[in-house]
């Protein structure tokens, strides 16, 4: 038999095949970017333990009814005003100067009728069971925004204008901060969190007719 050179495979259509696959994956890809509002639920509690008594002036009650209307501190309010109201409440610092509860960094109006200091201030959200989830998230979002704004302010005051709390926190979560600085950043974030601790309580939703 005569020896024959093996003919070369024509690879010209390789690109076409690859393109076909590429387009398939391009179309099916959904780069998922799940983001959301993180929360820690309170742990299960013994029913016998009495809840701690909180002064009425240290609570900020937000109620939402089944028609998605907002009642803040017994007054009807629009959603867009909620953030301002929450900031005013948290930042009030009503304790008189000299008392151990005095809040030196608060810039609020220091009304004696509002919260003593941010550590004492509790925001309580009460939903109706028929409140829409959209409204629920919107309210939570506004309240978190209030906290974030105050925390950003403190971050800038304590650690310089480049230290924006929310940015640093996200960067840390995503591992974008070099390891040498990570611990330092975490500590700074903690310090800010201590100044304005997130105290959001959620009451059991009322059933209609109760």
């Amino acid at each position: 038999m005569a020896r024959r050179a093996t003919p070369e495979v024509n690879a010209g259509s390789m690109a076409d095949i690859a393109f076909l696959l590429l387009i398939f994956f391009l179309v099916t890809t959904t780069i998922e970017k799940d983001k959301g509002i993180a929360r820690q639920l309170p742990p299960k509690q013994d029913e016998n333990i009495e809840p701690p008594i909180i002064k009425a002036k240290n609570t900020f009650i937000v109620s939402v009814n089944q028609n998605d209307q907002l009642l803040v501190e017994e007054e009807l309010m629009e959603l867009k005003d909620l953030k301002e109201a929450a900031i005013a409440f948290l930042d009030n610092g009503g304790a008189p100067s000299g008392s151990p509860e005095y809040c030196s960094y608060c810039k609020g109006q220091r009304l004696p009728t509002s919260s003593d200091n941010p550590d004492k201030a509790v925001i309580s959200v009460q939903n109706d069971r028929l409140t829409s989830y959209k409204m629920y998230i919107a309210v939570q979002n506004e309240l978190v925004a209030a906290y974030n704004e105050l925390r950003n302010r403190e971050g800038k005051r304590l650690f310089g204008p480049n230290f924006v709390y929310t940015e640093k926190k996200n960067a840390l979560n995503e591992g974008k901060i070099p390891e040498s600085q990570a611990e330092d950043t975490e500590e700074k974030l903690k310090k800010i969190q201590e100044l304005f601790p997130l105290k959001l309580s959620e009451a059991e939703p009322k059933k209609r007719g109760e």
């Binding site: 690879a11 390789m14 690109a15 690859a18 393109f19 696959l21 590429l22 994956f25 391009l26 099916t28 890809t29 959904t30 780069i31 998922e32 799940d34 983001k35 959301g36 509002i37 993180a38 929360r39 820690q40 639920l41 309170p42 742990p43 299960k44 939402v64 959603l79 867009k80 939903n127 109706d128 069971r129 028929l130 409140t131 829409s132 989830y133 959209k134 409204m135 629920y136 998230i137 919107a138 939570q140 979002n141 978190v144 925004a145 974030n148 929310t166 926190k169 996200n170 979560n173 995503e174 059991e204 939703p205």
Partner: protein, 158 residues
Amino acid sequence: MSKFKKKKGGDLPAVNTASLPDIVFMLLFFFMVVTVLRNNDLMIKNELPKADEVEKLKKDRSVFIFAGKPSEQYQAKFGTESKIQIGDKFTDVSSLQFALTEARQKLRPELQDYVVVALKVDKETNTGLVTDIKEELRELNMVKIIYIAAPGSVLDQN
């Protein structure tokens, strides 16, 4: 001197396309790696509410709970009441604990203690259902949750 003489004839040489497959393959592999083929078919309407104060979710340690009204093709079978879906089947509030424990076991063992429950709830759902889910989560001691939201702000629409 004649060495440096320009070649005559103005024919443009054809661009060499031999590396085209390589480039395309590179892109192909990129997309193959980042593609997540949806492994659970959503049987519910799932339009997320909008929020802008958001954090990123760590995928490897999360369990998803979906809730919302059944989508149109399932409404004849399941009605129009909001339902909870975990994995690819509907779950009742009463059997939620079992389903969640099962879902948690699918995570990597070292991450099971840091599990984050991601709630993907349709914006038309009643808050009552979400509260029921949260009660069950507290019972299970899975207290880290995240309400998944779409980027944007509710205030923009007003």
